[in-house]
Amino acid sequence: MSDERGLDRRGFLQCMAWTGTGLVWSVVGGVPGSRALGPGRAQAEGAGEAWSFVQISDTHIGFKGAANPDAMGTFEAALARIKALDPKPAFVIHTGDITHAQKAGAFDTVSEALKGVGVERTFYVPGENDVFADGGTEYLNRFAAGGSGRGWQSFDYRGVHFVGLVNVLNFKAGKLGSLGHEQLEWLERDVAPLAASTPVVVFAHVPLWAVYPQWGWVTDDGAQALAYLKRFGSVTVLNGHIHQIMQKVEGNVTFHTARSTAFPQPAPGVGTGPGPVKVPVEELRGMLGVREVRYAPGRDRLAVVDTSLA
């Protein structure tokens, strides 16, 4: 039972995750591996049918803290990374904290800027910073008008089923964020007709798995959502919120948290609590980044490629 080396497989994956910068994560048969970034990586994925999308997260536009006085500048650097992708991604997914504390004009700034990166559409889910002041009114009017629920959504793209979940709309004192009954029931109905062989990508702001509950880095009823996805052969869960890359594999489900484009946060349990971490200015961009996720039909493979802004 005990591991003499004191390093189990999960620990090993996390250790690898901390090395972060410049690694390409590939998911082959549910097991992540990595290789160094290098020239010709687009071709390396082969298959003309391959396509990709981008995850951007925690842009925190309006943040002016010491950890990054120029969150707009680093956001623009992230946009440049997306624009430079070749081949172009099909779309962008923003996993929330679009704004920093709903600063005036920030939603406009981000949504307009993302229209200029050369993709047809950006899909959003909110972070707590996007809804805390008005209970989500502005966010929902802007990004979820006409939807049946409160911002949750699903869509299909070339055989992959995407589900966007909202876990920041019912924060209560002393409690963890949750999805809530209505959304869970919707999710159950949404995935019910799908064949188990359908690849599923789930995206939400706060991690759906227990990264560090003491800091609120978990979704209270996330396990219930994951139970509805258990029967699928390939599930990729993309989250933000914690401003750092972490991975975990559980059965057919692969969890990934993303970097922010604004500021880093501490590793779980390190220091006095979560929040912006000020690092030497020359190190900052190495801790920020964007993510490209590539899908190659027939290869049972989602390649998750994290690129820093350094």
């Binding site: 002016k64 803290g65 010491a66 950890a67 920093h100 504390a101 709903q102 707590e128 910073n129 805390f132 002041a133 924060f171 209560k172 004192a173 002393g174 409690k175 963890l176 964020g177 003491q214 800091w215 609120g216 006095t272 609590g273 979560p274 929040g275 912006p276 000020k278």
Partner: protein, 110 residues
């Protein structure tokens, strides 16, 4: 907890000779927490919260009695408690940050 209560008491402004006239108190927000999770004050006291974090926080009553805007670094929020009672509050951005203000009658027996 007791130490924090004492600390909160020490933060109370006003001359020590006239304890009944206490009018203001401060709660520091630091390291994703309220430094005095429970503060006891007399009715009529103005409590001021000061955000020393690099992140934004709020001071929000659990029953909507008071609600600060997002407090950026070094910003403050004040609220005057006129009625005795227990007022629980939290940060709507970081709901694990909680605190309460216990307001006692201005003068005993009044």
């Amino acid at each position: 907890m007791r130490a924090l209560l004492v600390m909160a008491a020490l933060l109370l402004a006003g001359p020590a000779a006239a304890p009944a006239q206490t009018e203001s108190a401060r709660v520091e927000i630091r390291d994703q927490g309220f430094n005095a999770p429970s503060v006891t004050v007399k009715a009529g006291t103005t409590v001021t919260w000061v955000n020393h974090d690099d992140d934004t926080h709020t001071v929000t009553s659990t029953v909507d009695t008071f609600r600060s805007p997002g407090l950026d670094p070094n910003e403050t929020f004040s609220y005057t408690f006129t009625k005795p009672g227990t007022y629980e509050y939290f940060c709507t951005l970081h709901p694990l940050m909680t605190g309460k203000v216990v307001v006692t009658p201005e003068r005993s027996g009044s």
